[in-house]
Protein backbone atom coordinates (compact mmCIF):
# COMPACT_ATOMS: atom_id res chain seq x y z
CA UNK A 1 0.00 0.00 0.00
CA UNK A 2 1.10 3.60 -0.54
CA UNK A 3 1.97 5.79 2.43
CA UNK A 4 -1.17 7.77 1.75
CA UNK A 5 -3.33 4.65 1.80
CA UNK A 6 -1.73 3.49 5.04
CA UNK A 7 -2.39 6.88 6.65
CA UNK A 8 -6.00 6.77 5.54
CA UNK A 9 -6.34 3.32 7.02
CA UNK A 10 -5.01 4.76 10.31
CA UNK A 11 -7.83 7.28 10.56
CA UNK A 12 -10.37 4.52 10.00
CA UNK A 13 -8.74 2.34 12.68
CA UNK A 14 -8.87 5.31 15.05
CA UNK A 15 -12.59 5.73 14.29
CA UNK A 16 -13.07 2.05 15.11
CA UNK A 17 -11.22 2.47 18.41
CA UNK A 18 -13.23 5.40 19.74
CA UNK A 19 -16.52 3.92 18.52
CA UNK A 20 -15.76 0.54 20.16
CA UNK A 21 -14.93 1.98 23.57
CA UNK A 22 -17.81 4.47 23.39
CA UNK A 23 -20.32 1.70 22.64
CA UNK A 24 -19.59 -0.14 25.89
CA UNK A 25 -18.43 2.86 27.90
CA UNK A 26 -15.21 1.02 28.77
CA UNK A 27 -11.89 0.00 27.29
CA UNK A 28 -8.56 1.69 26.61
CA UNK A 29 -8.50 4.33 23.87
CA UNK A 30 -5.29 6.22 24.81
CA UNK A 31 -2.65 3.56 24.11
CA UNK A 32 -4.68 2.18 21.22
CA UNK A 33 -4.72 5.53 19.42
CA UNK A 34 -1.00 6.02 20.07
CA UNK A 35 -0.05 2.67 18.55
CA UNK A 36 -2.25 2.86 15.44
CA UNK A 37 0.55 3.57 12.93
CA UNK A 38 2.58 0.69 14.36
CA UNK A 39 -0.26 -1.83 14.00
CA UNK A 40 -1.20 -0.68 10.52
CA UNK A 41 2.41 -0.73 9.30
CA UNK A 42 3.02 -4.14 10.83
CA UNK A 43 -0.11 -5.91 9.60
CA UNK A 44 -0.50 -4.23 6.22
CA UNK A 45 3.15 -3.99 5.17
CA UNK A 46 5.60 -6.01 7.23
CA UNK A 47 4.17 -9.23 8.65
CA UNK A 48 4.40 -12.19 6.29
CA UNK A 49 1.04 -13.69 7.17
CA UNK A 50 -2.02 -15.30 5.65
CA UNK A 51 -5.07 -14.04 7.48
CA UNK A 52 -7.39 -16.37 5.57
CA UNK A 53 -5.55 -19.46 6.75
CA UNK A 54 -4.90 -18.57 10.35
CA UNK A 55 -3.80 -21.33 12.70
CA UNK A 56 -2.27 -21.41 16.17
CA UNK A 57 1.19 -22.67 15.17
CA UNK A 58 1.74 -20.13 12.41
CA UNK A 59 4.41 -22.27 10.76
CA UNK A 60 6.10 -20.40 7.92
CA UNK A 61 4.57 -17.10 9.04
CA UNK A 62 5.70 -14.16 11.13
CA UNK A 63 4.03 -14.06 14.55
CA UNK A 64 2.91 -11.07 16.61
CA UNK A 65 2.32 -11.00 20.37
CA UNK A 66 0.66 -8.10 22.19
CA UNK A 67 1.92 -8.06 25.77
CA UNK A 68 0.10 -4.90 26.89
CA UNK A 69 -3.25 -6.51 26.17
CA UNK A 70 -5.35 -3.57 27.31
CA UNK A 71 -4.84 -1.87 23.96
CA UNK A 72 -7.02 -4.59 22.43
CA UNK A 73 -9.21 -2.07 20.51
CA UNK A 74 -6.44 -1.19 18.04
CA UNK A 75 -5.49 -4.85 17.61
CA UNK A 76 -9.09 -5.97 17.06
CA UNK A 77 -9.68 -3.21 14.55
CA UNK A 78 -6.53 -4.00 12.57
CA UNK A 79 -7.10 -7.78 12.69
CA UNK A 80 -10.61 -7.36 11.34
CA UNK A 81 -9.58 -4.83 8.68
CA UNK A 82 -6.87 -7.31 7.62
CA UNK A 83 -9.47 -10.05 7.26
CA UNK A 84 -8.91 -12.26 10.30
CA UNK A 85 -12.60 -11.91 11.12
CA UNK A 86 -15.56 -9.84 9.98
CA UNK A 87 -15.32 -6.11 10.66
CA UNK A 88 -18.92 -6.31 11.86
CA UNK A 89 -17.76 -8.36 14.85
CA UNK A 90 -16.19 -5.20 16.32
CA UNK A 91 -19.73 -4.45 17.50
CA UNK A 92 -19.42 -7.21 20.08
CA UNK A 93 -16.33 -5.77 21.82
CA UNK A 94 -16.53 -6.31 25.59
CA UNK A 95 -20.09 -7.63 25.39
CA UNK A 96 -21.39 -10.91 26.78
CA UNK A 97 -20.61 -14.00 24.67
CA UNK A 98 -18.13 -12.08 22.49
CA UNK A 99 -14.82 -13.35 21.11
CA UNK A 100 -13.56 -9.77 21.55
CA UNK A 101 -12.92 -9.91 25.28
CA UNK A 102 -11.81 -6.80 27.16
CA UNK A 103 -8.29 -8.17 27.03
CA UNK A 104 -7.24 -10.51 24.19
CA UNK A 105 -7.67 -14.23 24.77
CA UNK A 106 -7.41 -17.50 22.90
CA UNK A 107 -10.24 -18.91 24.98
CA UNK A 108 -13.02 -17.96 22.59
CA UNK A 109 -10.94 -18.88 19.53
CA UNK A 110 -10.53 -15.43 17.98
CA UNK A 111 -8.26 -15.79 14.91
CA UNK A 112 -4.97 -13.92 15.17
CA UNK A 113 -4.45 -14.30 18.91
CA UNK A 114 -2.02 -16.87 20.27
CA UNK A 115 -1.96 -16.22 24.00
CA UNK A 116 -4.03 -14.30 26.54
CA UNK A 117 -2.55 -11.00 27.71
CA UNK A 118 -3.65 -8.31 30.10
CA UNK A 119 -1.87 -9.24 33.28
CA UNK A 120 1.28 -7.36 32.34
CA UNK A 121 4.83 -8.53 31.83
CA UNK A 122 4.17 -11.99 30.41
CA UNK A 123 4.17 -11.50 26.65
CA UNK A 124 7.91 -11.32 26.03
CA UNK A 125 8.49 -14.69 27.70
CA UNK A 126 5.81 -16.33 25.56
CA UNK A 127 7.14 -14.72 22.39
CA UNK A 128 10.66 -15.94 23.18
CA UNK A 129 9.37 -19.49 23.53
CA UNK A 130 7.60 -19.17 20.18
CA UNK A 131 10.78 -17.77 18.63
CA UNK A 132 12.80 -20.69 19.96
CA UNK A 133 10.17 -23.09 18.62
CA UNK A 134 10.70 -21.51 15.20
CA UNK A 135 14.42 -22.15 15.47
CA UNK A 136 13.86 -25.78 16.48
CA UNK A 137 11.48 -26.18 13.54
CA UNK A 138 13.98 -24.54 11.16
CA UNK A 139 11.34 -21.91 10.40
CA UNK A 140 13.05 -18.68 9.30
CA UNK A 141 10.13 -16.34 9.93
CA UNK A 142 10.22 -13.72 12.70
CA UNK A 143 8.42 -13.03 15.97
CA UNK A 144 7.27 -9.48 16.81
CA UNK A 145 6.02 -8.15 20.14
CA UNK A 146 4.63 -4.94 21.60
CA UNK A 147 4.89 -3.80 25.23
CA UNK A 148 3.92 -0.73 27.19
CA UNK A 149 6.50 1.46 28.90
CA UNK A 150 4.58 1.20 32.18
CA UNK A 151 4.84 -2.55 31.71
CA UNK A 152 8.60 -2.22 32.17
CA UNK A 153 7.82 -1.99 35.91
CA UNK A 154 7.14 -5.75 35.86
CA UNK A 155 10.08 -7.91 36.90
CA UNK A 156 9.29 -10.73 34.50
CA UNK A 157 10.15 -8.46 31.58
CA UNK A 158 13.75 -8.33 32.77
CA UNK A 159 13.90 -12.07 33.37
CA UNK A 160 12.89 -12.46 29.75
CA UNK A 161 15.33 -9.77 28.58
CA UNK A 162 18.23 -11.63 30.17
CA UNK A 163 17.04 -14.98 28.80
CA UNK A 164 16.74 -13.69 25.23
CA UNK A 165 20.32 -12.43 25.08
CA UNK A 166 21.75 -15.49 26.83
CA UNK A 167 20.05 -17.85 24.41
CA UNK A 168 20.79 -15.61 21.40
CA UNK A 169 17.15 -15.39 20.38
CA UNK A 170 17.88 -13.24 17.33
CA UNK A 171 14.64 -13.90 15.45
CA UNK A 172 12.59 -11.54 17.60
CA UNK A 173 11.80 -7.85 17.09
CA UNK A 174 10.25 -6.33 20.20
CA UNK A 175 8.82 -2.86 20.50
CA UNK A 176 8.05 -0.74 23.55
CA UNK A 177 5.39 1.94 23.27
CA UNK A 178 7.15 4.81 25.02
CA UNK A 179 4.27 7.21 25.62
CA UNK A 180 5.50 8.23 29.05
CA UNK A 181 2.16 7.61 30.71
CA UNK A 182 0.72 4.98 33.02
CA UNK A 183 -2.57 4.81 34.91
CA UNK A 184 -1.57 6.90 37.91
CA UNK A 185 0.31 9.52 35.89
CA UNK A 186 3.54 10.16 33.98
CA UNK A 187 5.96 7.21 34.11
CA UNK A 188 8.74 9.41 35.43
CA UNK A 189 6.56 10.35 38.40
CA UNK A 190 5.13 6.88 39.09
CA UNK A 191 8.23 4.69 38.55
CA UNK A 192 11.19 6.25 36.76
CA UNK A 193 12.38 4.17 33.84
CA UNK A 194 15.73 5.90 33.48
CA UNK A 195 17.32 5.22 30.12
CA UNK A 196 15.48 2.40 28.42
CA UNK A 197 18.17 2.36 25.74
CA UNK A 198 20.95 1.90 28.29
CA UNK A 199 18.94 -0.76 30.11
CA UNK A 200 18.18 -2.87 27.03
CA UNK A 201 21.69 -2.49 25.65
CA UNK A 202 23.09 -3.57 29.01
CA UNK A 203 20.84 -6.62 28.79
CA UNK A 204 22.44 -7.50 25.45
CA UNK A 205 19.81 -6.29 22.98
CA UNK A 206 20.29 -4.35 19.75
CA UNK A 207 18.29 -1.16 20.30
CA UNK A 208 16.65 1.07 17.67
CA UNK A 209 14.41 4.10 18.12
CA UNK A 210 11.54 5.51 16.11
CA UNK A 211 8.69 7.96 16.18
CA UNK A 212 5.67 5.69 16.33
CA UNK A 213 3.28 8.31 15.01
CA UNK A 214 5.20 9.00 11.78
CA UNK A 215 4.29 6.28 9.29
CA UNK A 216 7.42 6.76 7.19
CA UNK A 217 9.65 6.34 10.24
CA UNK A 218 7.76 3.27 11.45
CA UNK A 219 8.10 1.57 8.06
CA UNK A 220 11.79 2.41 7.72
CA UNK A 221 12.66 1.38 11.28
CA UNK A 222 10.82 -1.93 10.98
CA UNK A 223 12.87 -2.61 7.83
CA UNK A 224 16.06 -1.70 9.63
CA UNK A 225 15.11 -3.94 12.56
CA UNK A 226 14.67 -6.85 10.18
CA UNK A 227 18.20 -6.41 8.88
CA UNK A 228 19.42 -6.61 12.48
CA UNK A 229 17.90 -10.07 13.04
CA UNK A 230 19.97 -13.22 12.68
CA UNK A 231 23.05 -11.58 14.15
CA UNK A 232 23.04 -13.28 17.54
CA UNK A 233 21.17 -10.55 19.41
CA UNK A 234 17.49 -9.88 20.07
CA UNK A 235 16.22 -6.57 18.65
CA UNK A 236 14.34 -3.88 20.56
CA UNK A 237 12.65 -0.79 19.11
CA UNK A 238 11.93 2.06 21.49
CA UNK A 239 8.88 3.66 19.91
CA UNK A 240 8.00 7.18 21.03
CA UNK A 241 4.27 7.86 20.69
CA UNK A 242 1.71 10.35 21.86
CA UNK A 243 -0.97 8.64 23.91
CA UNK A 244 -4.38 9.41 22.45
CA UNK A 245 -2.85 10.48 19.10
CA UNK A 246 -5.36 11.70 16.53
CA UNK A 247 -7.99 13.03 18.92
CA UNK A 248 -6.81 16.41 20.20
CA UNK A 249 -8.44 16.35 23.61
CA UNK A 250 -7.10 12.84 24.32
CA UNK A 251 -3.48 13.53 23.33
CA UNK A 252 -0.57 13.36 25.74
CA UNK A 253 -2.41 12.58 28.94
CA UNK A 254 -2.88 9.45 31.04
CA UNK A 255 -6.50 10.53 31.69
CA UNK A 256 -7.70 8.63 28.62
CA UNK A 257 -5.80 5.45 29.44
CA UNK A 258 -8.92 3.53 30.35
CA UNK A 259 -11.81 5.95 29.94
CA UNK A 260 -14.35 5.98 27.11
CA UNK A 261 -15.70 9.15 25.49
CA UNK A 262 -19.32 10.15 26.11
CA UNK A 263 -21.72 10.94 23.24
CA UNK A 264 -20.57 14.51 22.65
CA UNK A 265 -16.90 13.61 23.06
CA UNK A 266 -17.37 10.81 20.52
CA UNK A 267 -18.90 13.24 18.07
CA UNK A 268 -16.01 15.62 18.55
CA UNK A 269 -13.46 12.81 18.11
CA UNK A 270 -15.10 11.45 14.96
CA UNK A 271 -15.10 14.97 13.53
CA UNK A 272 -11.30 14.80 13.60
CA UNK A 273 -11.07 11.35 11.99
CA UNK A 274 -12.07 10.89 8.37
CA UNK A 275 -14.15 7.82 7.49
CA UNK A 276 -11.85 6.38 4.82
CA UNK A 277 -13.29 2.89 4.78
CA UNK A 278 -16.80 1.98 5.85
CA UNK A 279 -17.48 2.19 9.58
CA UNK A 280 -18.46 -1.18 11.03
Amino acid sequence: MSIDELKKLCTQVRRDIVRMVHAVNSGHPGGSLGCTEFFVALYFEKLRINSAKWNMDGAGEDLFFLSNGHISPVWYSVLSRKGYFAVDELKTFRKLDSRLQGHPTTHEGLPGIRVASGSLGQGLSVALGAAQAKKLNKDNMLVYTLHGDGEMNEGQVWEAAMYAAHHKVDNIISTIDVNGQQIDGPTEKIMSLGSLRAKWEAFGWQVLEMNGNVMEDVLATLDKAKTETGKGKPVMILMTTVMGKGVDFMEGTHKWHGVAPNDSELEKALGQLEETMKDY
Binding site: M56, D57, G58, A59, L63, T105, T106, H107, R114, V115, A116, S117, G118, S119, G121, Q122, G123, L124, S125, V126, A127, L128, G129, A130, A131, Q132, A133, K134, L136, N137, D139, G155, Q156, E159, A160, M162, Y163, H166, H167
Partner: protein
Amino acid sequence: MLNFEITKSNDTRSGFGEGLLELGRKNPKVVGLCADLTGSLKMDAFQKEFPDRFFQVGIAEANMMGVAAGLTIGGFIPFTGTFANFSTGRVYDQIRQSIAYSGKNVKICASHAGVTLGEDGATHQILEDIGMMCMLPHMTVINPCDFNQTKAATLAIADLVGPVYLRFGRPKVPVFTSPDQKFEIGKAWHIHEGRDVTIIATGHLVWKAIEAARALEADGISVDLINLHTIKPMDVEAVVKSAKKTGAVVTAEEHQINGGMGSLVAQAISKHHPTPMEFVGVNDSFGESGTPEQLMKKYGLEAVNIVNAVKSVLSKKVMA
Protein backbone atom coordinates in the same frame (compact mmCIF):
# COMPACT_ATOMS: atom_id res chain seq x y z
CA MET B 1 -3.38 -57.90 48.41
CA LEU B 2 -1.63 -55.63 50.90
CA ASN B 3 1.46 -57.83 50.72
CA PHE B 4 3.55 -55.67 48.44
CA GLU B 5 7.09 -56.79 47.92
CA ILE B 6 9.38 -53.84 48.50
CA THR B 7 12.24 -54.36 46.10
CA LYS B 8 13.91 -51.04 46.76
CA SER B 9 13.54 -47.48 47.92
CA ASN B 10 13.80 -44.66 45.43
CA ASP B 11 12.74 -41.05 45.04
CA THR B 12 9.73 -40.13 42.94
CA ARG B 13 11.73 -37.35 41.25
CA SER B 14 14.03 -40.01 39.79
CA GLY B 15 10.96 -41.66 38.31
CA PHE B 16 10.24 -38.35 36.62
CA GLY B 17 13.83 -38.10 35.35
CA GLU B 18 13.73 -41.60 33.86
CA GLY B 19 10.34 -40.98 32.32
CA LEU B 20 11.46 -37.71 30.76
CA LEU B 21 14.56 -39.35 29.25
CA GLU B 22 12.42 -42.11 27.77
CA LEU B 23 10.00 -39.52 26.37
CA GLY B 24 12.92 -37.64 24.83
CA ARG B 25 13.87 -40.77 22.91
CA LYS B 26 10.32 -41.55 21.86
CA ASN B 27 8.94 -38.13 21.04
CA PRO B 28 11.02 -35.43 19.29
CA LYS B 29 8.42 -32.82 20.28
CA VAL B 30 9.16 -33.18 24.00
CA VAL B 31 11.37 -30.36 25.33
CA GLY B 32 12.60 -29.64 28.85
CA LEU B 33 13.02 -26.39 30.76
CA CYS B 34 14.60 -25.98 34.16
CA ALA B 35 15.15 -23.08 36.55
CA ASP B 36 18.63 -23.86 37.88
CA LEU B 37 17.66 -27.14 39.57
CA THR B 38 18.55 -29.64 36.88
CA GLY B 39 20.26 -32.07 39.27
CA SER B 40 17.54 -31.83 41.91
CA LEU B 41 14.85 -32.48 39.29
CA LYS B 42 16.84 -35.38 37.77
CA MET B 43 16.66 -33.68 34.38
CA ASP B 44 20.41 -33.93 33.74
CA ALA B 45 20.19 -37.14 31.70
CA PHE B 46 17.66 -35.50 29.36
CA GLN B 47 19.80 -32.36 29.15
CA LYS B 48 22.90 -34.39 28.26
CA GLU B 49 21.22 -36.49 25.58
CA PHE B 50 19.07 -33.70 24.09
CA PRO B 51 20.95 -30.41 24.58
CA ASP B 52 19.06 -28.72 21.75
CA ARG B 53 15.72 -29.57 23.35
CA PHE B 54 16.68 -28.43 26.84
CA PHE B 55 16.38 -24.81 27.96
CA GLN B 56 18.18 -23.56 31.05
CA VAL B 57 16.24 -20.51 32.24
CA GLY B 58 18.18 -19.67 35.37
CA ILE B 59 16.43 -18.63 38.57
CA ALA B 60 13.51 -17.07 36.72
CA GLU B 61 10.44 -19.22 37.09
CA ALA B 62 7.94 -16.65 35.81
CA ASN B 63 9.87 -16.40 32.56
CA MET B 64 10.10 -20.20 32.41
CA MET B 65 6.32 -20.59 32.44
CA GLY B 66 5.95 -18.03 29.65
CA VAL B 67 8.70 -19.53 27.49
CA ALA B 68 7.08 -22.95 27.95
CA ALA B 69 3.73 -21.55 26.82
CA GLY B 70 5.43 -20.07 23.75
CA LEU B 71 7.16 -23.33 22.83
CA THR B 72 3.75 -24.98 22.44
CA ILE B 73 3.14 -22.54 19.58
CA GLY B 74 5.03 -24.54 17.01
CA GLY B 75 3.95 -27.90 18.36
CA PHE B 76 6.38 -28.67 21.18
CA ILE B 77 5.43 -30.34 24.47
CA PRO B 78 7.35 -28.50 27.18
CA PHE B 79 8.09 -30.09 30.57
CA THR B 80 9.08 -27.46 33.12
CA GLY B 81 11.04 -28.46 36.18
CA THR B 82 11.58 -26.76 39.53
CA PHE B 83 10.51 -27.22 43.15
CA ALA B 84 6.76 -27.38 43.75
CA ASN B 85 6.82 -24.07 45.61
CA PHE B 86 8.39 -22.27 42.66
CA SER B 87 6.23 -24.21 40.19
CA THR B 88 2.96 -22.91 41.62
CA GLY B 89 2.71 -20.18 44.24
CA ARG B 90 5.56 -18.15 42.80
CA VAL B 91 4.12 -18.25 39.28
CA TYR B 92 0.40 -18.65 39.80
CA ASP B 93 -0.56 -15.76 37.54
CA GLN B 94 1.81 -16.83 34.76
CA ILE B 95 0.28 -20.31 34.83
CA ARG B 96 -3.20 -18.85 35.02
CA GLN B 97 -2.97 -16.44 32.09
CA SER B 98 -0.26 -17.75 29.77
CA ILE B 99 -0.88 -21.49 30.25
CA ALA B 100 -4.27 -22.47 31.70
CA TYR B 101 -6.52 -19.73 30.30
CA SER B 102 -4.61 -19.84 27.02
CA GLY B 103 -5.03 -23.62 26.84
CA LYS B 104 -1.34 -24.34 26.38
CA ASN B 105 0.00 -27.90 26.37
CA VAL B 106 2.56 -27.37 29.14
CA LYS B 107 3.52 -30.04 31.69
CA ILE B 108 4.43 -28.38 34.98
CA CYS B 109 6.62 -30.91 36.79
CA ALA B 110 7.18 -30.13 40.43
CA SER B 111 9.56 -31.81 42.85
CA HIS B 112 10.24 -31.42 46.57
CA ALA B 113 6.53 -31.01 47.36
CA GLY B 114 5.41 -31.05 50.98
CA VAL B 115 7.25 -31.37 54.28
CA THR B 116 9.44 -34.25 53.05
CA LEU B 117 11.59 -31.61 51.38
CA GLY B 118 13.06 -31.56 54.88
CA GLU B 119 15.82 -29.41 56.26
CA ASP B 120 15.36 -26.38 53.98
CA GLY B 121 12.24 -25.55 55.96
CA ALA B 122 8.88 -23.93 55.37
CA THR B 123 10.02 -21.42 52.74
CA HIS B 124 10.44 -24.34 50.35
CA GLN B 125 7.87 -26.81 51.69
CA ILE B 126 4.73 -25.96 49.80
CA LEU B 127 1.54 -27.49 51.18
CA GLU B 128 -0.96 -25.46 49.14
CA ASP B 129 -0.05 -26.41 45.58
CA ILE B 130 -2.69 -29.08 44.98
CA GLY B 131 -5.39 -26.62 45.97
CA MET B 132 -4.08 -23.83 43.77
CA MET B 133 -3.65 -26.03 40.72
CA CYS B 134 -7.03 -27.78 41.14
CA MET B 135 -8.78 -24.41 41.20
CA LEU B 136 -7.51 -23.56 37.72
CA PRO B 137 -10.09 -24.49 35.06
CA HIS B 138 -8.98 -27.35 32.79
CA MET B 139 -5.80 -28.11 34.75
CA THR B 140 -5.06 -31.80 35.27
CA VAL B 141 -3.44 -32.50 38.66
CA ILE B 142 -1.51 -35.69 39.39
CA ASN B 143 0.37 -36.71 42.56
CA PRO B 144 1.96 -40.15 42.05
CA CYS B 145 3.00 -42.35 44.99
CA ASP B 146 6.31 -44.00 44.12
CA PHE B 147 9.13 -44.16 41.61
CA ASN B 148 7.38 -46.47 39.16
CA GLN B 149 4.07 -44.62 39.24
CA THR B 150 5.82 -41.28 38.75
CA LYS B 151 7.67 -42.61 35.72
CA ALA B 152 4.46 -44.04 34.28
CA ALA B 153 2.60 -40.77 34.92
CA THR B 154 5.39 -38.77 33.24
CA LEU B 155 5.03 -40.91 30.11
CA ALA B 156 1.23 -40.67 30.19
CA ILE B 157 0.93 -36.89 30.45
CA ALA B 158 2.85 -36.40 27.20
CA ASP B 159 -0.10 -37.96 25.38
CA LEU B 160 -2.70 -35.74 27.03
CA VAL B 161 -3.28 -32.46 25.20
CA GLY B 162 -3.62 -29.71 27.79
CA PRO B 163 -1.91 -28.30 30.87
CA VAL B 164 -0.88 -30.73 33.60
CA TYR B 165 0.52 -30.28 37.11
CA LEU B 166 2.65 -33.31 38.08
CA ARG B 167 3.68 -33.29 41.74
CA PHE B 168 6.39 -35.46 43.24
CA GLY B 169 8.97 -35.40 46.00
CA ARG B 170 12.52 -35.49 47.24
CA PRO B 171 13.08 -38.44 49.62
CA LYS B 172 13.63 -42.08 48.83
CA VAL B 173 10.41 -43.95 49.60
CA PRO B 174 9.33 -47.58 49.12
CA VAL B 175 8.82 -48.69 45.53
CA PHE B 176 5.80 -50.97 45.46
CA THR B 177 3.88 -50.39 42.23
CA SER B 178 4.56 -52.33 39.06
CA PRO B 179 7.44 -51.12 36.84
CA ASP B 180 5.42 -51.88 33.70
CA GLN B 181 2.11 -50.39 34.86
CA LYS B 182 -0.08 -48.50 32.45
CA PHE B 183 -0.95 -45.15 34.00
CA GLU B 184 -4.52 -44.12 33.34
CA ILE B 185 -5.05 -40.40 33.98
CA GLY B 186 -8.24 -39.86 35.95
CA LYS B 187 -8.71 -43.52 36.88
CA ALA B 188 -8.21 -44.31 40.55
CA TRP B 189 -6.23 -47.40 41.53
CA HIS B 190 -8.26 -49.68 43.77
CA ILE B 191 -5.47 -51.13 45.88
CA HIS B 192 -7.54 -53.27 48.26
CA GLU B 193 -11.16 -54.36 48.61
CA GLY B 194 -12.78 -53.86 52.00
CA ARG B 195 -16.18 -53.10 53.53
CA ASP B 196 -15.82 -51.19 56.85
CA VAL B 197 -13.99 -48.02 55.91
CA THR B 198 -12.55 -46.30 52.83
CA ILE B 199 -9.06 -44.83 52.85
CA ILE B 200 -8.23 -42.54 49.93
CA ALA B 201 -4.58 -41.57 49.68
CA THR B 202 -2.33 -39.72 47.27
CA GLY B 203 1.43 -39.23 46.88
CA HIS B 204 3.75 -40.26 49.69
CA LEU B 205 0.77 -41.01 51.92
CA VAL B 206 -0.22 -44.05 49.85
CA TRP B 207 2.49 -46.21 51.39
CA LYS B 208 1.53 -44.91 54.83
CA ALA B 209 -2.06 -45.85 54.05
CA ILE B 210 -1.00 -49.37 53.10
CA GLU B 211 0.79 -49.68 56.44
CA ALA B 212 -2.28 -48.36 58.21
CA ALA B 213 -4.56 -50.76 56.34
CA ARG B 214 -2.40 -53.70 57.35
CA ALA B 215 -2.65 -52.72 61.00
CA LEU B 216 -6.40 -52.17 60.75
CA GLU B 217 -6.99 -55.49 58.98
CA ALA B 218 -5.00 -57.20 61.73
CA ASP B 219 -7.48 -55.62 64.15
CA GLY B 220 -10.39 -56.98 62.15
CA ILE B 221 -11.29 -53.73 60.35
CA SER B 222 -11.81 -54.30 56.64
CA VAL B 223 -10.32 -51.44 54.56
CA ASP B 224 -11.28 -50.34 51.06
CA LEU B 225 -8.07 -48.66 49.90
CA ILE B 226 -7.93 -46.29 46.97
CA ASN B 227 -4.96 -44.51 45.43
CA LEU B 228 -6.24 -41.24 44.01
CA HIS B 229 -3.16 -40.36 41.96
CA THR B 230 -5.17 -38.08 39.68
CA ILE B 231 -6.79 -35.49 41.89
CA LYS B 232 -8.28 -33.61 38.96
CA PRO B 233 -10.22 -34.76 37.05
CA MET B 234 -11.29 -36.89 39.97
CA ASP B 235 -12.53 -40.44 39.57
CA VAL B 236 -15.80 -39.52 41.27
CA GLU B 237 -17.38 -42.85 40.39
CA ALA B 238 -14.72 -44.85 42.25
CA VAL B 239 -14.81 -42.52 45.26
CA VAL B 240 -18.60 -42.49 45.59
CA LYS B 241 -18.94 -46.22 44.98
CA SER B 242 -16.54 -46.92 47.82
CA ALA B 243 -18.24 -44.41 50.14
CA LYS B 244 -21.59 -46.10 49.49
CA LYS B 245 -20.07 -49.47 50.26
CA THR B 246 -18.26 -48.59 53.50
CA GLY B 247 -20.15 -45.57 54.82
CA ALA B 248 -16.99 -43.98 56.24
CA VAL B 249 -14.10 -42.24 54.47
CA VAL B 250 -10.60 -41.09 55.47
CA THR B 251 -8.37 -39.10 53.12
CA ALA B 252 -4.59 -38.82 53.45
CA GLU B 253 -2.21 -36.42 51.73
CA GLU B 254 1.02 -34.49 52.29
CA HIS B 255 -0.74 -31.14 51.86
CA GLN B 256 -2.92 -28.68 53.73
CA ILE B 257 -6.25 -30.16 54.69
CA ASN B 258 -7.84 -26.87 53.64
CA GLY B 259 -8.29 -27.00 49.89
CA GLY B 260 -6.45 -30.25 49.38
CA MET B 261 -7.41 -33.60 47.88
CA GLY B 262 -9.57 -34.42 50.91
CA SER B 263 -11.59 -31.23 50.44
CA LEU B 264 -12.28 -32.18 46.84
CA VAL B 265 -13.24 -35.73 47.82
CA ALA B 266 -15.55 -34.29 50.47
CA GLN B 267 -17.16 -32.12 47.82
CA ALA B 268 -17.84 -35.14 45.62
CA ILE B 269 -19.09 -37.30 48.46
CA SER B 270 -21.32 -34.66 50.03
CA LYS B 271 -22.94 -34.11 46.65
CA HIS B 272 -23.48 -37.74 45.70
CA HIS B 273 -23.57 -39.70 48.97
CA PRO B 274 -23.04 -37.78 52.23
CA THR B 275 -20.76 -39.87 54.40
CA PRO B 276 -18.78 -39.24 57.62
CA MET B 277 -15.18 -38.27 56.83
CA GLU B 278 -11.85 -37.64 58.49
CA PHE B 279 -8.87 -35.87 56.98
CA VAL B 280 -5.19 -36.67 57.40
CA GLY B 281 -3.01 -33.78 56.26
CA VAL B 282 -1.35 -30.66 57.56
CA ASN B 283 -3.77 -28.68 59.67
CA ASP B 284 -3.50 -24.97 58.79
CA SER B 285 0.20 -24.76 59.52
CA PHE B 286 3.51 -24.10 57.78
CA GLY B 287 6.24 -26.72 57.99
CA GLU B 288 9.74 -26.27 59.45
CA SER B 289 13.28 -27.64 59.26
CA GLY B 290 13.88 -31.27 60.18
CA THR B 291 14.41 -34.64 58.58
CA PRO B 292 11.55 -35.89 56.41
CA GLU B 293 10.84 -38.66 58.94
CA GLN B 294 10.71 -36.22 61.85
CA LEU B 295 8.44 -33.87 59.95
CA MET B 296 6.02 -36.57 58.81
CA LYS B 297 5.71 -37.58 62.44
CA LYS B 298 5.37 -34.07 63.87
CA TYR B 299 2.80 -32.98 61.30
CA GLY B 300 0.65 -36.06 61.69
CA LEU B 301 1.28 -37.77 58.36
CA GLU B 302 2.15 -41.27 59.59
CA ALA B 303 0.29 -44.58 59.40
CA VAL B 304 -0.73 -44.19 63.02
CA ASN B 305 -2.49 -40.91 62.18
CA ILE B 306 -4.46 -42.69 59.48
CA VAL B 307 -5.34 -45.51 61.91
CA ASN B 308 -6.56 -42.96 64.45
CA ALA B 309 -8.57 -41.14 61.80
CA VAL B 310 -10.20 -44.42 60.83
CA LYS B 311 -11.18 -45.13 64.44
CA SER B 312 -12.61 -41.65 64.72
CA VAL B 313 -14.64 -41.89 61.52
CA LEU B 314 -15.91 -45.34 62.48
CA SER B 315 -17.31 -43.90 65.71
CA LYS B 316 -19.23 -41.31 63.69
CA LYS B 317 -20.47 -44.04 61.40
CA VAL B 318 -21.94 -45.90 64.42
CA MET B 319 -23.57 -42.68 65.59
CA ALA B 320 -25.03 -42.16 62.15
